[in-house]
Each structure stands twice: as C-alpha cells, then as structure tokens.
Symmetry: C2
Subunit: 181 residues, 2 copies
C-alpha cells in the first residue's frame, strides 16, 4: 500500500500571498512586497488591518487564487509513489467550500473527489506526512509534519522546512528511498 | 482528553430515506413504504431507478433534509463525554458542500466548524468511534465501527448495529462506563 501525504491548499498549493498583494494593489493603489508577510500574521501584514478579513469573505476570492509555482507538476510526480490527499481547513469560510472544490477540479483534475478533505481542526486526519504552512496544523498531526515556507511561519523552526515544491520533491524522493531500501 | 466520535450525516443525522419517499410521492404521485429500501441500494429501491441520482444533484436537496429522530438531543448528550466530529462524504456532490454546512449550522449549532469534515474516502479519518450507515466507510475506519441501521444495510451484519439514536446513547454510555471503570 502506498504511504499517504496530506497536502494543504492556501499557502501550499495556492499562492495566497501573491493573491493578497495583487488585490491590495488593485483596491488601494499600493504595490507592496512579499517581505511584509515576514514573521507576522497575514492580517497584520497590511497597512489596512481589515483587508485580509474582507478578502477571505469575498465571493470569488478562493476560486481565483493563483497556483503555487511548480505545484501541479510536483503533486503529479508525488502521486506516482504516494497516495495524495488534499486537506484544507475550508470549514472556517463556508463560501470557500464550493470555490475550493471547483479550483481543485480546474488545476488538479487528476485528484479524485475521494481524496479531498475539507475540515476544521486537522488533528483527526491521519496521513503519513502532512505538508502545511501552519503550526496549528503541523503541531498536532499524526504523521511527519513538513512545513511549507510562508511569511507568517518565517520564525518557527521546530519542523522540517521546505521552501518550494522543488524542495518537497527532493525530500519525498529521499523518504521514498529510505522506505524502499 | 475526551475520546472522539465521528458521525456521518446522510442516513444517520439526516433522515434521507424519509426525504426521498416524500419527494417521490410529490413528483410521481405514488406513496411508497420505507420497506422498499430493505436490502437494496437506494437507487434500486424506487420504480424509477433514475430518481435518487436526480434528487442528489438537485439544488436544495441536502439543505431540506429532515433531522433523524432524536439525533439533536443525543448528539448534545454525547458531546458531554466525547469530542464529536461530523464526518460526511460530501465531496461526491459538490453542490451539497455549502448546503450541508448550512444544514448543520441550523440543526446542530452547538457543533463548531472546527469539528466538521467533508471528505470523500473516510479511511484517513482517525476517530475512536465511527457511526455510519455504509460498510464502505465502516470497513476501513481506524476506530470502532458502529453501524446505524438503514434499509440498504439490512443484510450486513459484521458490525455492531444500532437502530436508533436511543440505542446509540445506550451503547456509548456503556462504552463510557467501561472506559472510566
């Protein structure tokens, strides 16, 4: 049986920082750098502290997220050796449920509906690995936690860190070798 | 830490058989008995074999399901001793995602969004108990499977069976006594 990987959406499969920066520039006329996210919560990153909250409750926000660089090819490759589950804490934003399902169908059509989980708390999700950008999920997961770099987690260093999908592939290839050797 | 119970929606929290019978009577002018579901798949139960498929893809179907008798009071009571997670295979029907979230907010407002999981395959859900009406979920769950009676599972007898929410409460009280004795 293949080992399982749980993969988060926002900040991992979807480039939510770029999306926020683009929306902020369009609405406020200010072009900000990704550096603003470093070491702070997403809400605190912007001059207008209400912007992030407003965006995540705006219809269409989750449907129009850009795909993280290299994510599609990497997940396709990982699926050869691992059983992939998409695990998103979508329940916090009820409007996002249908949008996230449609987004996955468009960008990751090779992922079956059987392998998609929209939840709240991820502590009862039991996969061998979890790739996520939030310690609130990684700290309590049952398998091996893998932290995908994001501005907000820049100062948290108690999990294995990956900075890109290229690094995810390198790490998981090493894991696969260890397991089959 | 409280032990965890995963609870299915359709056929467990929601009385989907009654909903189908009511809709069928309204649309086809034929009043059928719950006996039609016994030992067959839901689709095969009706004279028009396309009816069930049509209904589950009709907007509003999941939002208007009646609550299973005794479910609200029983889940409230269980939540005193157990951590409750609602675990529904909603991913098969994308339209149902928002409707199911709204239905839970109306009928089970005491369940936090953090404790709701909409998934496909339930094999990676790790709760101490799973109350479900389908063997496809119960056969692969990580905790103790508890089969909630439904017409379609009438002839399947390899799991502990409960016929009502009263029986769920009696069983889980016994489990709680065993655990604390």
């Amino acid at each position: 049986m293949k080992r399982t990987i749980g993969i988060d959406m926002d900040g991992v499969l979807a480039d939510i920082e770029t999306h926020w920066l683009n929306l902020y520039e369009k609405d406020y006329g200010v072009k900000l750098s990704p550096e603003i996210f470093k070491g702070v919560t997403e809400s605190d990153a912007f001059p207008d502290k209400t912007a992030v909250h407003k965006y995540v409750f705006t219809p269409g926000f989750f449907r129009t997220l850009p795909v993280m660089e290299g994510a599609v090819e990497a997940v396709k490759k990982l699926a050869e050796d691992y059983e992939i589950y998409i695990v998103s804490a979508a329940m916090e934003f009820p409007l996002s449920l249908f949008e996230k399902r449609e987004w996955l169908a468009e960008h990751f059509p090779f992922i079956s509906w059987k392998n998609i989980i929209f939840c709240g708390d991820k502590s009862i999700i039991d996969t061998d690995y979890l790739i996520d950008d939030h310690c609130k999920n990684l700290d309590y997961c049952k398998g091996m936690p893998i932290m995908f770099s994001a501005g907000h987690n820049a100062n948290q260093n108690h999990h294995v860190r990956v900075n890109s999908w290229t690094e995810v592939l390198a790490l998981m290839e090493k894991e696969q070798e260890l397991c089959t050797s």
